[in-house]
């Protein structure tokens, strides 16, 4: 059973549910952040949106809610945790992933399809892609400029922790064109692009589907 964590202001929760339940045909349920008991779950998705209205910083308030301690425990147990867009911002602000997402250099909210280069093909979410492969997903964010200090960047580069890089032009000014990063163990991924919006041909592409399929394979293999 995969949980889809809802905070006040999450708005991609039902899109992720559709991708999981209807597209890749797995068991999933919505979890309201106040429920706090995540012990029965095999994996978790923190969907996109504007949790707490993006007040303070995007993802900052959700990142400090008590349920995040449960999410950290899940990650520590090796269960797969996926943060999409606002979910990525929440994972960074909670310390589960390094770095932060600052305002796009253009100051604009950018909503468009982008090309992504697969940089890591070994994590729980990326092992069905091939390293160097170019895939397409859509982005929709105002604060997606990935930033971290030099030591963290080297650590990410040296340990194959950059999952995806923007291909073509960098849309938001991210350091090293970073679109997504994984934790050291490869069971926590955060990315700004939306795989759930690229999981069916009718949406304009289905390159995101493999991410959910890889997550399911990983759960089965544990």
């Amino acid at each position: 059973m995969i949980g889809v964590l809802q905070f006040p202001g999450s708005n991609c929760d039902l899109d992720v549910m559709r991708a999981l339940v209807d597209v890749v045909k797995t068991d999933a349920k919505l979890i309201f952040f106040k429920d706090q008991d995540l012990s029965g779950l095999d994996g978790l998705v923190i969907p996109g949106g504007f949790s707490y209205g993006d007040h303070l910083r995007a993802g900052a308030i959700a990142a400090k809610m008590p349920v995040m301690e449960e999410v950290k425990a899940m990650a520590k147990e090796g269960k797969p945790v996926l943060g999409i867009c606002n979910g990525f911002q929440i994972l960074c602000d909670s310390g589960l992933l390094p770095g932060a997402l600052a305002k796009n250099t253009s100051m604009k909210f950018i909503c468009k399809w982008v090309e992504l280069g697969v940089a890591n093909d070994t994590s729980a979410f990326t092992n069905l892609y091939a390293k160097g492969e170019t895939i397409r997903m859509s982005i929709a964010h105002g604060e997606g400029r990935y930033f971290c200090d030099d030591a963290s960047l080297r650590e990410l580069q040296d340990n194959d922790r950059i999952a995806f890089r923007y291909g073509g032009s960098n849309p938001n000014g991210s350091l090293d064109d970073i679109a997504g990063v994984v934790n050291r163990e490869g069971n926590v991924l955060g990315l700004m692009p939306h795989p759930e919006r690229a999981s069916e041909e009718i949406l304009g592409g289905e390159d995101g589907r493999k991410m959910f399929e890889a997550m399911i394979d990983y759960i089965k293999s544990r």
Binding site: L56, R57, A60, I61, K64, C92, D93, P98, G99, A100, A102, K103, N104, T105, S106, M107, F147, C148, D149, G173
Partner: protein, 81 residues
């Protein structure tokens, strides 16, 4: 005793502040060619009930480290008034 706290949060030096750049460019466009190094920061104001100014500052610092500031991209200064 209620202590007035002011916290100033700003982007770390060297990190591009696109909002400040945009405002600076528009000031230059309006004819203020003598404006440079324009910057923006955020100010948080609050009252903290604590026995002393030092205690109040300690609470404020804890709040900054816990939620108000993201140390990856921001620096902060606390003032007890």
């Amino acid at each position: 005793m209620e202590q007035d706290i002011e916290i100033i949060v700003k982007l770390k030096e060297g990190l591009l502040n696109p909002e400040a750049k945009t405002i600076e460019r528009s000031l230059n466009l309006l004819g203020y060619k003598n404006v440079s190094q324009f910057d923006t920061e955020r100010v948080f104001l609050m009252k903290v009930d604590a026995p002393s100014a030092k205690e109040a500052e300690k609470y404020a610092d804890e709040m900054c480290r816990r939620i108000l500031v993201n140390p990856v991209i921001e620096d902060y200064t606390i003032m007890v008034k």
